[in-house]
Symmetry: C2
Subunit: 303 residues, 2 copies
C-alpha cells in the first residue's frame, strides 16, 4: 500500500488533489467541529469548495440528530448547508427499515434505544416505534419489570426490530427490554457502532459503547447502518447519483470514515487529524486502513 | 473428551459420584435458585451433603451482594449457610486490589461501577473508593460533565483503578467517567464478565453486559476476578486449603462455572440444567467445555 500524501502547507499538492474530485463526502464530528467547538477555517474551506463547483454531502454517524437537527447545528456553527446535503445514520437506518427490511405491519414496530434523531427519522419514514425518549423507559428497573419482561406481559407483541444508536440515557431497563425482544426473535439493527464520540477535545462513549451491553447480553452483532456499512453508501449514492471515481470521503476515523470510502471504491479518501485517529495510526507498518492523503486540520486546504 | 455422565434417577451413579469428593463448590444463581425462586429439594440436598461430612463453599459471581448480604439471602431462602462459606466476586476483587495489586496510597482509590456488594467488600479490605451507589453518579450527563471530564476537573486524581460489576444503575455518566479514568491510565478490573443474569426464569443482562460499554469505549478487557478467573480459585484455595482432587464444582454455566472447575484442575465438575446452559450445549460435537456429570436439577441428588 502506498504512503498517504501529506497535504498541509503544500499548495500545489492540495490543488492537484482537489482537482481529482467533483464530490466531497464529509464526516462532521471530529472534522468540522468537536462538540460545539468549530475548527479553524472550516466555513472558508467549504466556501472554497462550493465556489470551485464541488458538491458537498455531510455524512454523519451521529444518530442523536435528525437531518433537520443537523441543519440547525450547521446554522448555529455559521456553516452554510442544506437539509438535503445531510445524510445521517438515523436516516440511513429509517430508510433501511422502511424500504429494505420492509417487515409486514403491524409486526414492523421498532424498539428504539437512542435519542430523538432516530425517532424523527422513523417518523419521516412512517415506521412505528416505542422506547427512545419515552420517559416511561427513563427510570430504574423494578422487581415488577423483571417479572413482566420475563413472562412477556411488559412487552409489545408487535415489536419486530431493536434499533440501537447513541443513547445518553442508556439504562438497565432499556438494556433488559431490548435483550428480551432479541431473545424473542426481533431483528437487531444499529445506526452505527462507533466506539467513541469526540466532544470538548476528548473522547466519550459512542453509539457502539452505549449499545455494547445489549450486544454482549444477546451474544450477537447488529446490522450497522452507519459508516463503514456499504448500506449507507448505497443509500447516499441512490440519492445523489455521483461518480464514485470523482468522489472523496473526508474523515477523522480510519475504521469508519476512511474504511467507508475505500470499501465503497471512491476515487479518494482524505484524513484529518482533529478527531479520533492520529497519523501514527495509518503511517505505522501494517496499518490495515490507509487514506490517500491527510491534513492536520481541514482548514489547511485553504490556509 | 468423554461424554458427561447423566446422574438423574441413577442412585448408584449418584452415590459413586458423591463419594469421590470431600468439598463441593456451588454456584448459586441458576443452581440453588433463580432470583427469589428456590429450586426443589435444595435444602435437603445441602443437608444430605453436610451429613455426609462434605465441606460446602458457595462461589458466586453476583457482585451486587456482599458475603453478609448473601448470608441474609440464604437465611431468607431457608438454606443453612455461614458467612465464611460464601465467596463472592466482589470479595475476590477486593482481596485482589488490597493484597495482590496493592497500589501505594493515596493512588489506590477505586472508581466503582456497581452496587453495594462491591462497596461493602472494599470497605472490609479498607480500600478507598468513589462512585458505586453514590447518588451523585445516578443522574443524566450535563454539558458541564462533558467539559469537566474532558479537562479533568471532574476527576479525582487519586483514582488508580476502575472496577466494574453488575450495575442495575448503569448510565452514560458512569460510563464516560470510567472511560476517562481508563484513558488516563487507571487499571481496569471487573468482578466478573457474565453476559447474563438468570432472574424469574429468564435471562437478563449480567455484569459483563452492564460493563460492556466501558470495555468497548476503552478498547480493552478488564482483569476479571470472578469465575472462570483462576485468581478467584487461588483466593478460595488460600482460604479453605482443600484438596483439589477431592473437590467438585457445581454450576449451570459452561463458560464460567464448569470452565472454572476444569481450568482449576478440580477432581470433578457437575452441571445442572436450571440455569443458562442446556444439555445440548455440552453434548453437541465439538463443545469446548464439558462437565464430568450432570443432573436436571440439583435436587435430583436426593430425589
Amino acid at each position: 500500500m502506498s504512503q498517504p500524501k501529506y497535504l498541509t502547507g503544500d499548495k500545489a499538492a492540495i490543488q492537484e488533489f482537489l482537482d481529482r474530485f467533483d464530490v466531497f463526502l464529509f464526516d462532521c464530528d471530529g472534522v468540522l467541529w468537536s462538540g460545539d467547538h468549530l475548527f479553524p477555517k472550516v466555513p472558508e474551506t467549504l466556501d472554497m469548495l462550493r465556489k470551485a463547483g464541488k458538491q458537498l454531502v455531510f455524512v454523519t454517524n451521529n444518530s442523536t440528530k435528525s437531518r433537520a437537527d443537523y441543519k440547525k447545528k450547521f446554522d448555529k456553527m455559521g456553516i452554510e448547508a442544506k437539509v438535503e446535503e445531510v445524510f445521517g445514520s438515523s436516516y440511513s437506518a429509517a430508510v433501511y427499515i422502511a424500504r429494505i427490511l420492509a417487515l409486514p405491519p403491524p409486526k414492523n414496530k421498532v424498539f428504539v434505544v437512542g435519542e430523538t434523531g432516530i425517532e424523527q427519522e422513523l417518523d419521516a419514514e412512517s415506521v412505528p416505534y416505542i422506547g427512545g425518549t419515552d420517559p416511561a423507559f427513563r427510570r430504574d428497573m423494578t422487581p415488577d419489570d423483571f417479572a413482566g419482561l420475563a413472562n412477556g406481559s411488559a412487552l409489545d407483541p408487535d415489536v419486530g426490530i431493536v434499533l440501537t444508536g447513541l443513547d445518553f440515557h442508556i439504562n438497565y431497563l432499556k438494556m433488559a427490554t431490548a435483550h428480551q425482544y432479541l431473545q424473542r426473535g426481533a431483528k437487531f439493527l444499529a445506526t452505527n457502532i462507533d466506539s467513541s464520540l469526540p466532544m470538548s477535545h476528548a473522547l466519550f462513549p459512542g453509539a457502539g459503547s452505549t449499545g455494547a451491553g445489549i450486544r454482549y447480553a444477546a451474544g450477537a452483532d447488529p446490522v450497522a447502518l452507519g459508516k463503514p456499512s456499504q448500506a449507507m453508501m448505497e443509500a447516499i449514492e441512490g440519492k445523489f447519483h455521483f461518480d464514485k471515481a470523482r468522489t472523496c470521503m473526508v474523515g477523522d476515523r480510519l475504521n469508519t470514515d476512511i474504511k467507508f470510502g475505500i470499501e465503497g471504491k471512491l476515487g479518494g479518501t482524505l484524513a484529518v487529524l482533529t478527531g479520533v485517529n492520529k497519523k501514527e495510526d495509518f503511517l505505522r507498518e501494517g496499518s490495515e486502513v490507509v487514506p490517500m492523503a491527510y491534513v492536520d486540520v481541514l482548514g489547511d486546504l485553504v490556509a
